[in-house]
C-alpha cells in the first residue's frame, strides 16, 4: 500500500479558485474595514484581516501548485505564512503601542479627529 499522507495532492473536492475567492473576499472585507472604520483598533483589525487573506492566498497557491509534493522539506508555503503571522503580531504590537500613545495625546481613538498633520 502507498503511505498515506494527509498532504494528499491530487483530486480535491474544491479547486484552487475557491480558496482564492475566499481570500479575495476576506481581503476586500479587510480593506473595507480598514478604510471605513473610525476606530483605530478597528483599522488594525482590518489590517489583520488583510494579512490573513494574504496568508490564505499563499497557502492555497502552495497546496495547489505542487509545492506539497516536492518532498517532506518543501514547506515554502507554510514557512512564508508563519513569517507573515509573526510579522503581523509584531506589527500589531507596535500599532497598539501607537494607539495607546494616541489615546494619551488626544484622549480619543477616533482617527477622524486626529488630523494635526494636515495641509
Amino acid at each position: 500500500m502507498r503511505p498515506q499522507s494527509f498532504l494528499v495532492v491530487g483530486e480535491a473536492p474544491l479547486g484552487l479558485e475557491a480558496y482564492l475567492l475566499v481570500a479575495a473576499i476576506l481581503f476586500c472585507l479587510g480593506l473595507v474595514a480598514c478604510a471605513a472604520r473610525r476606530n483605530a483598533v478597528g483599522i488594525l483589525i482590518g489590517i489583520e484581516l488583510l494579512l490573513n487573506a494574504a496568508n490564505l492566498n499563499l497557502l492555497a497557491f502552495w497546496r495547489f501548485q505542487g509545492g506539497a509534493m516536492s518532498g517532506p522539506d518543501a514547506l515554502d508555503g507554510p514557512i512564508f505564512a508563519v513569517f507573515v503571522i509573526i510579522l503581523a503580531a509584531c506589527e500589531a504590537a507596535v500599532a497598539l503601542g501607537i494607539v495607546i500613545n494616541l489615546f494619551y495625546n488626544f484622549g480619543t481613538v477616533e482617527v477622524d479627529n486626529i488630523n494635526k498633520l494636515r495641509h
Binding site: C34, A35, R37, R38, V111, D112, N115, K116, R118, H119
Partner: protein, 703 residues
Amino acid sequence: MSTLNLALMIFLLPVAAFAILALAHRRLPRHGDFLANGSMGLALLASIVVFARALAAEEPILVHWTFDWVPTSAARALQGGVLVDGVTAFMLVVVTSVSFLVYLFSVGYMKDDVRYGRYYASLTLFSASMLGLVLADNLLYLFVFWELVGLSSYILIGHWFERKSAADAAVKAFITTRIGDVGMLIGMLICYWKVGSLAYVDLFAAVSGENLFNAGSDVDWQTWAGVGLFFGAMGKSAQFPFHVWLPDAMEGPTPVSALIHAATMVAAGVYLVGRLFPFFTPEAFLFIAYIGAITALFAATIATVQDDIKKVLAYSTLSQLGYMMLALGVGGYVAGLFHLTTHAFFKAGLFLGSGSVIHAMHHEQSMSKYGGLGKKLPLTAATYLVCVLAIIGCPPFSGFFSKDEILAAALAFAQERGEHWFLAFSGFVTAFLTAFYMFRQFFLTFTGRPRDAHAYEHAHESPWTMTVPLVALAILALLAGGKPGWWFEKLIPPHETARTVRAYAAYHETAGGPLAPVVVQAAERLAPTEEHAPAAGDEAHAGAHGAHGLAMTLALSLAFLGVLVAAAAYWQRRDGATYLNPALIARRLRPLHTLLWNKYYFDELYGLIFVGMTLGVMRLMAAFDRIVIDGIVNFAGLFGKISAFVSGILDNWIVDGAVNGLAGLTSLSGGGLAQTATGRVRHYLLFVALGVIALSVLLFVAI
C-alpha cells in the same frame, strides 16, 4: 658791412622787436615802444646806406643771395632768397622812413590807449612783413609776406575791436584782399607750371626773347598769369572792384591808416606790378591801365562829398593808387613807381596831419564840426598845406613831378592809340577832382569860422612826437621831387628789366603788337645810357616829349581850376558866407549827391550778391541737414524704438507670462496636491489601497 648783411639786418631788426614786444611788452617800461622806434630807426639808417650804395652802383643788382630752402627730388632744390636792386633800395627807404615817422607819431597819438603794447607789436610785425615782401626774390616769399601784411592789417584795423564796426571792417579787409589772392595764386600756379620756378630771374628769362612762355600753346598763358597776379594787386591795392575795404579800414587808428593804408601795404600791389613789369603782356597791361583809370576817377568822385576827414583821404588814396596802376599799365614804369614814392610821403603826411586834428578835436572826425583850426593848430595846418599842394601836383612839390610823368605817359599812349582816350581823360579829370576835394577838405578844416565852438575851445597843437613826423613828411613831400626824381634816374633798373623790356619791345614791334611803341618808350626810359632802339622808338620818344608839355599845361590848369572851385564853394569871406553855396548845389543835384554819398551803393550790392548768396547757401544746407539728414537718422532711430517696443511686449507678456504661468501652475498643482494631505489616516489608507490596486492592474493586466 656788406649790403647783404645790411639788408638782412633791415629785415631782422623789426622781427626781433616784434618777438620781444609780442612776448614781453607788459614787463617793459612804457610797453617797450622805444624798442620799436629804435629798431625802425636803425633800419632806416641801414636803408639809407643801401640806397646810397644803389645810387653809386655800377651794376643794377646789388645783392642776389639764394639758399636752398626745401630739398626736392629735382636737380635744384626749392630756393628762397633776397634780391636787392635799385627798386628794392628806394622801397626800403620809403617803408622804413614812413614806418619810423608813424611809430614816432603813435607815441603821442596812442598815449593812453588800452592796448598800447599790442599795438606796437602789431606795427613791428607789419613793418617786418613789408620789408620781407620788398626783399623777396621769388613770388612764393612775396606771397608769404603778402599774407603776413594782410594779417597785420587785420590786427591793426581791428585794434579797437570792442567796436563792432571796427571788427567788421577788419574782417572785410582781410576777406576782400583774400579774394584777390585767389587770382594771385592762380597766376603763380600758371607761372610755376610753365616755368618750373617762381623766382623773378627765372620768370624774366622765360619771357624774354622769342616769348618762350607761350611756346607751343593756343592759350595766352602769359596774359592770364599776369592778370591773375594783378588780381592780387587789385585786392591789396584796393582797385575797383575790390575797393570796398579801404574806406572801412579807417576804423583803425589814424597812424595805422597812415602807414598801412596810404604808404606801404596798399603800395605792395603797385610794387608787385612794378617788379614783374617785363612779365606782363600788352593785353594784361591794358587791363591794368583800365582798372587803374576807372578806380582813379570813381574814387575821386566819391571823395568830393565825404564828410569824415579820414574817408576823404581814404578815397583819395584809392584814386592815387589808380593813378599808379594807370601809369604802369601804359608803360610808364618810372612814373608809376615814382608816384608810389611821393604818394607815400605826402599821403602819410596828410593822414598824420588829420590824426593831429582828430587828436586836437578829441576824436571828432566829422568835418562839419571843424573850421578855423588853422589858428589853433598852425604847424599842423602848414604841413597839411604842403602835403595838399603835393598831392594836387603843384610845382615845385614832389607830387607835381610824379603826376606829370603819369599824365604825360597816359597822354602819349592815348595819342598813339586813339581808342584808349578814356585813360587820358580819366587821368586829367581826376586831377581836377583831386584838387577840388583836397582843397575843400583844407578849407573846411583849417579856415573859416569854427562850427563847433566847444570843441574849438579845447583844441590844441599836438606834442612834439606828433608834430616832428609831420614836419619831416612835409619836407620829404617837398624835396622828393626833381625831374623825375634825380635819384630815380640814377638808380639803374634791373638788367633783366631793361633787357627784357627791350627784347620784348622788339618782339612786339616785329609782331605788331598794339602796345609796342609804348613799351619801347618804357625801355628807353629804363636804360637811357644804352643805344637807342630802332626808329619806331625814336618816334615814340619824341611823342612822349611832346605829350609832356601838353600834359603839364593841362594838368596845372585843371588843378588850378579845381582849387578855384573849391575856394568859391568853401572859402568863407569875412561875413562867413561863401561865393558858391555847396548845400544848395547838393540839393539841386540831389540824385547825384545821394549816389556819391552812398559810394555808388557798392557795399549794398556786394552784400546783396555775395553775402546774400552765401546766406542762401547756408540756409539751403541747414534745411538739408535738418530735414534730410536728421530725417534719416530719426527714421533709423524709429526702428530702434519699434524693436524696443516689440521686445518689451515680448518680454512682458510672453516671457514673463511663461514664467509666471509656470509658477502659477506649480502653485495651483501644489495647492491641489496638498489637498490630499488631510491628516486623516483613513484617507491615507485609502490612497495606499488604491495605489496598490492601480499598480497591480498596471503590472499584471496592462503590461
